[in-house]
Amino acid sequence: MKLHRLLVALTASAFLFACGDDPEENQNQNQNQNQNQNQNQNQNQNQNQNQNQNQNQNQNQNQNQNQNQNQDDPTHPFEDCTASVSATGDAAEDQPAILAMFIDAEAGDILCFHDGDYELDDQLQFAVSNVEIRGESRDGVRLDFDGQAGSNGIDIQDVDNITIRSLTILNTAGDGLVVRNGDGVHIDDVAVIWERGPHPDNGAYGIYPVQSTDVIVENSLVSGASDAGLYLGQSENGILRNNEIFENVAGIEVENSTNIDVYNNEAYNNTGGILIFNLPDLPRKEGRLTRVFDNEVYENNTSNFTSGGIVQNVPRGTGILVIGVQDVEIFDNEIYGNLSLGVGVVSFMSTGLPFEQDPDYYPFAESIYVHGNTIYDNGENPIDLAAGATDLRPVPGILWDGVVNPAADPADVLSCFPDNVDDDGEPATYVNLQGEGPATQELGDNNCDLTPLDPVDL
């Protein structure tokens, strides 16, 4: 109780942002107007992007050729499919053909999609364990859900040991690829794209494993999600690696999850690049033990185009943001060109949102270890939360609200921010808002080290 009263007091002091009457709002509108220009630029970038993809694809093809030559490799050759479908481009034929394959599936099956443009008019649900769903190639297998009836693209529920690889899901009304209650989930080389680019009417989530365990999402691409591109929520033991995530509201979001590694991802042109959140009012309360490393997080300056949910509070121009999570290690990332802030670490009360209603929720961001990152050119035009947090311009590369549980032993909740640099190798800028106290830009006692977290072993 005491703790809660204190939290209320802290919240009431509202030392951070107020969205509504923000003087930056006009600027925000300008931002929206600029958005079109940005989108044009984005399109150019997309073209470049495509070239990059082609290059990647060539690399993939080379890899595939190598793998095809190596016939002993049991996982990749297209030949060992137990069932397969080919595209007609007519939903009246593609939809039932895929459904029939999904419904007849049994454990051990490999269900394959030949390259082609598939038209779907409803979501594809699936619930068989120990199955691989495999496309011939990511860029070749295009499942287009534009105009669909049901909400999601591929919707998988209650399965053990499921693999989805090498296909593209386009233009779903709801989420692209959903896995609910999966144990052993491998998503590899999958793309989820809304082709019109950022738009509030796009589906909410691109790749969305939730309430799952032992999840790997790798080598995948998401673009256009109106909430999170790559989301891992209410899950345990997960690896998100080697993904390319752009033009979503949240690029990569880990939410109320434990034992998660996020590495070697590229997150750019989202509203926020990588978000590690622990939120109240969810069935799974625990969000901790997450490592974020070797990612490139840059220019996440797309205006927030969501129409709801927690991510509406994410200021455009956010690099990496930690809210209310414990035991997070952020290291060896390159974070640059994000207009609001580079790395933000805050407790949930700094969002100004209520949480007292959830007595089991622990709102503090504690034992955060941010080290060895390269952080530069961030915070030059902050808005919302980032603008309200500090008067410093640009907003320092690392922003910590300095709020910890006052009832905790300080040694148990210590956060450390050592050895971060800018692009010239100089120490990265830093601010500790110290709750209600005077902000400091000196690392002080927080120039320390914590025991590195163990890698996630899957």
Partner: protein, 386 residues
Amino acid sequence: MKRIALVLLLALSGAACGDDPPAMPDDAGLTDTGPDADAEEPDADVDEEPPCEPRFANEDGSVFESLSEYCFFQGDLADHDPVDGVVAYDVTAPLYSDGSYKKRFIILPPGEHIGFSVDDRWTWPNQTIITKTFYYPHDERDPDAGELILETRLLIKDDDRWTAQSYLWDDDQKEAWRHNLGRRVDVTYIDHDGEEVHVDYRIPNQNQCRTCHAQDGQMVPLGPRTFQLGEAYQRTPGAPSQLEVFADMGLFDQELPDLSTLPRITHYYDDSEPLEDRARAYLDANCAHCHNPQGRANPSNLYLGIDVTNDRDLGICKRPVAAGTGAGGLSYSIVPGHPDESIMIFRMNSLDPAIKMPELPLTTIDHFGVELVTDWIAAMDPTGCP
């Protein structure tokens, strides 16, 4: 036992469906056969037919390809005239399914019993089948105009798990054939007001059954449970409750507790009942199969069963978690006193696949339900949300 089955049969041949709006004529049932049917089946043939007993599956264990092979019904299949051992039932608070009408039956294996529970889901012996037939009357004002039967869904329990099969009715309404890939059917009927109604009816595919029926990863029956069977079949005045009837038939594995102590859900069409009870009954029947801690919407932490007591679990001043566009820019599932600001109403009132609730294949809005829940929210004390 047989006598009571006969009572059920007679009640059934009176035949309105459980899902009827209150204005539904009592005799708009499936038992009316056209003159053609009578002509094709001389009485002599019927008399000579050997009695048909319910069958569970082919000898090799595979499911039947046609509905008639189960021997659940006698006479014309479309009449749904159950043989001994096939028990008709209905629920107090039904699920809205694009305005379709439903007929429901339980078939237990001989000598086996339902595991009764006051609050939990009942348990069912292996080789139980529960069926539900979906149909529309051609003209809701005229029971003699007949019906269009679309599909009969079967929940089949074997090897300690439930699976689902769907049987699509032929155009001539003589037989229904197994079909698991789903289908869209254009339905046209005349409603109570004489208006022509078109429905893009969706017969779900087999994998979609899990959307509603999977609880904690396992398929389960949803309707038949204690609080849903506390009224007489078809709410026939003076008739015993279905729980009593089931108990008298020996369907349960135990004596029932005092009936007055058992939980009941409110018949939400009955406007003499309290508004809150009606709205909560509606939400339970139409939402709680997903929106409960074991259901598909568990990640949302929005729980809409009638047993939920926590305001925030119910959505009152609850912020959405992962609603995306579904939130429509609104902040709370329910804002007391302000249905227009409540995400729940926004989503119930939408046909956009990214927004609409319930998720599954509803292609029409249940305006009755929207109005009921709207009234409930509007009547709440407008305390505001933090």
